[in-house]
Each structure stands twice: as structure tokens, then as C-alpha cells.
Symmetry: C2
Subunit: 118 residues, 2 copies
DNA sequence: TACGGTACTAACAAAAATGTAAGTAATGTC
DNA sequence: GACATTACTTACATTTTTGTTAGTACCGTA
């Protein structure tokens, strides 16, 4: 989410591909390095910022923030802020967010099969 | 496939994630910008280098080469060279390559659902 | 008044992915 | 001998993604 250059070839290619290939439309949304792990963690219910961090100990706060923002912008999850001090923010998958489950399932299945042959 | 730095934090993170999250194991393999479109094209049967290029008019020869190499290295497809001039090279999905189909299917399903809500 | 806790933000740096432009080999055809 | 064809390779440039480090605001508690 460092701002992207909307005049670049890469940007144009991504757009064009997403229009023609539905798979790419999806991977453009859930394709970041940490997106799927975050969604996976949230599949079992809403979590606070710090709780997600605990589940993914290697993620930096910056990356977590960026990916959460992107996912929120794409309606994959919602952000709920409580007016407390210290702050409390809860992240929860939307309906369509929960529907990532079959994708994750198939990715897992494939990984298992693939590991067998390597 | 510009050579990656095996001492980088990013490299370590990818490894660790792939070990803990099967989804990431898979996306590390099929995650490039052009990987899924290439595999999609090959789902209907083997194709020559130039034929893939026709299906994906915006891909550069460099990217196509790189992604094909990566996919081959990961046993997703095979490369068959014919000793002819001009050269002829055919790419074909392996068994596990063909098994990407359900993943692609679910990604497509999700894209359709997602488009409805946006 | 200093400190802890939470969820961030900002400036900068490094790495990774992608794109651009040009060139190569081999051989058959004109 | 020049040219076309095919599947690449190479050197370099740009863009995108990810990582590093150091902050910030708020308020209750010691």
C-alpha cells in the first residue's frame, strides 16, 4: 500500500488480467504475503490487533497495518474501534471474508499433495 | 527469479510461513503475477511457448520464461524440447499441475461473489 | 511526574518482482 | 549472403513489496 503508480505497465497488466481472469481478480485482493495467514487466523473469530500479532509473531506492525487496511478496503474484514484507553480495535471477517475458507482449503489440499511428490 | 537473498528477513519469513501455513506453501509456488494465467491456459492441454504468449498478449518473453522455469522447477509443468529448427518447446501440466483446477475454480467462485458486493 | 499498555504512523532502506531493449543460435528459404 | 522463424538470454531500469527504526496519543496507576 505504498502508493502504486497508476501509469505503470505493471499496473495496467494487473488490471487487464483481473478483468479477463477471475482468479487474478481474487489473488489481487488476497495475494499479499500475509493476507491469507491473517484471514486464516480470523476464520475462527474476531481478533484484536495485538492478538493477530501473537498468531503471526514475525509480522511487523507496519505490515500488519498495511494488510489489514487493504483487506478492509476490499470488504474482506471489518474494523471496530472501541473508544477506550489504551485503544482496542477488533478485526472480523465479513461474510465474503468467511467465504475464503474453500479457497484456503483447496490451497491446503494441494500443498499436501504437492509435498508428497517432492 | 532474479536471484533471491537467502539471508533476508523476507526469505526467512516466507520459509517459516510456508512451514506453518499450507496455504502459503502453495501460494509461494503459484503466486507470481502470471503463474495462474499460465496454468489456466495449460489446463486445456499442452502449448508451445509462442502459443502461451498469444493467450497472454501482455506478458513479456522474459517473464514468461521466468515463470515457466519456476513452475517447472516446482513440478507443476514439464518442458519438452524438440530438436528442430526453429526450435519447438512444449509445455504441459503435470498431474499435480492439473490438480490446480479446484483452486482456480474456488478463486473464480469467490471473485464472482465478491464482484456482486462491490 | 514517570511508566505501561495499545494500536498505530512516518521516514527511510532493502529486497523482490516486473518491465525494456537488445541480442543469440540454428537452419531452411529466397 | 540476407532474412525469417522460434525460444530463449542478458544487462539494465523501474516499480512494488517488505523490513527497520523510531516515534505518537491517550489515560490510569504508581
Amino acid at each position: 500500500m505504498s502508493k502504486i503508480k497508476e501509469t505503470s505497465t505493471n499496473f495496467a497488466n494487473k488490471q487487464a488480467l483481473a478483468n479477463e481472469c477471475l482468479e487474478v481478480y481474487s489473488t489481487n485482493i488476497i495475494g499479499g504475503q500475509w493476507s491469507l495467514p491473517i484471514c486464516y487466523a480470523l476464520l475462527s473469530g474476531k481478533l484484536r490487533f495485538g492478538e493477530i500479532k501473537k498468531v503471526l509473531p514475525n509480522i511487523t506492525e507496519r505490515m500488519l497495518t498495511l494488510q489489514l487496511k487493504k483487506l478492509e478496503k476490499n470488504n474482506v474484514l471489518t474494523r471496530k474501534i472501541y473508544a477506550e484507553v489504551p485503544p482496542r480495535v477488533e478485526y472480523e471477517l465479513t461474510t465474503i471474508g468467511y467465504e475464503l475458507k474453500p479457497i484456503i482449503k483447496e490451497l491446503e489440499n494441494w500443498a499436501i499433495k504437492h509435498k508428497k511428490i517432492v
